[in-house]
Symmetry: C2
Subunit: 221 residues, 2 copies
DNA sequence: CCAAAAGTTAAACACTTGTTTGAAACATAC
DNA sequence: GTATGTTTCAAACAAGTGTTTAACTTTTGG
């Protein structure tokens, strides 16, 4: 039970970077242990299997993130009788930015992992995360309902996932987007700036009271 | 040069299903050739490599999709002097739905592939697709500008990618979402219905004229 | 201080991967 | 019909995979 052993942490550090950069299946334990400068067998010793390592990497981010998010949501809950969608989405900002303070480019790595986890085989990570953090999502949903009580649960559900898609997709690929933004518009942007652009966009979509209707294609009357 | 040989098509058919279901790296050529009922070596014979096979699978969808999309955009362009964002986004509907007529669950498979391609190692498919179909994206962007000329190019760029994220993310994971929708709200939904819910959501976001501003967190004044 | 537990290590294991090979089967053209 | 080019096939290949083993070192608690 020595906590002096840093090899577990070293493996996690190396794994999260490589997983984010190259994906789960495309990253071998040998690459991870080489980068971490530990023995190959230590992954199986400390984590049991590669699959468990993936979950552990994921979990380390989620725990930090959800803890902060819960704090933010609680604060919003008690400070404001009435809340706006903008405010609810705003609770995501601090927890995300905070990750950048914990480790370099943290929010970027986290979102890349989320994006990859999402596309993962059979969605086994998604299931794992949903089980483990469903209460956080439930609370977030409750806040959204408070902000927009007229929305039906079904409409709410879909719009929530529309927003999730934008969030993960944008932040997971933000590096490429940042490059384009710089070269095409001479505008360097930070992750925080992207989020601050994204939230009004999503708020407007979420607040829209347009009913889902058939979209006319160009040819029809 | 016999075109009677169907093995190329059989490989493509098997590959696109397995790639969509399990991912690129997680699908072996042996699984593909077994399902296609062709010899293992035929993949390398007809496509050269697994990487080229992935591109070929992707390309078959993209060609059908972009061709239809160009038609839709051209029609909108000549029929309407002034266009709305809703209409521009509407040009995506038919090309997507049409894929379902070509093969069973086509749009679903296509979107799953898109989702996976997006998260792909080093984004080599994304690069490949951007090179090959950049003119289609350019035309789509031009239409969006026509619908919303006051938007700065940079703002436009970001909102376009916000929409892309929602689209791909939602449709790539639509099966899981459909399941939840059915069990939680007793509402069976089709891909088309999802799109018709998504487009007004995105239109509202895109049309929003709110400037990107600092989002207040719950604690601040 | 020393036995037991925890951690590390190099080597091997069993298996799967994409790709190549060279012969066989087939098609086409002269 | 034979020659030519194309396609299929079973088999093998080299390389890489996650995991296990058993010997070794280090840390820990009595």
């Amino acid at each position: 039970m020595s906590n002096k052993s840093q090899t577990k942490a070293k493996v996690l550090d190396a794994a999260e970077l490589l997983f984010a950069e190259h994906g789960f299946a495309e990253t071998s334990l040998r690459e991870i242990t080489a980068r971490a400068e530990v023995n190959l067998a230590s992954v199986n010793y400390h984590f049991g299997s590669k699959k468990s390592l993936i979950e552990a990497v994921f979990d380390r981010f989620m725990e930090s993130f959800t803890n902060q998010l819960i704090t933010e949501m609680a604060e919003l809950d008690k400070n404001s009788e009435q809340v706006t969608v903008n405010q609810v989405l705003g609770t995501l900002v601090k927890p995300l930015i905070y990750i950048d303070e914990i480790r370099p480019n943290g929010s970027s790595v986290f979102m890349k992992l989320l994006g990859r986890a999402y596309a993962e085989t059979q969605g086994h990570i998604r299931r794992f995360a949903m089980e483990r953090y469903s209460h956080v999502l439930a609370r977030f949903t409750r806040l959204l309902h408070k902000a927009s009580p007229s929305l039906s649960p079904a409409e709410m559900f879909w719009r929530l996932h529309f927003m999730l898609g934008s969030f993960i997709f944008t932040l997971a690929g933000h590096e490429a987007l940042q490059e384009i933004s710089e070269s095409d518009f001479n505008q360097a942007v930070t992750v925080e700036q992207i989020i601050n652009r994204l939230i009004p966009f999503l708020s407007a979509g979420f607040d829209s009271n347009e009913a889902p209707a058939k979209i006319m294609s160009a040819g029809e009357a």
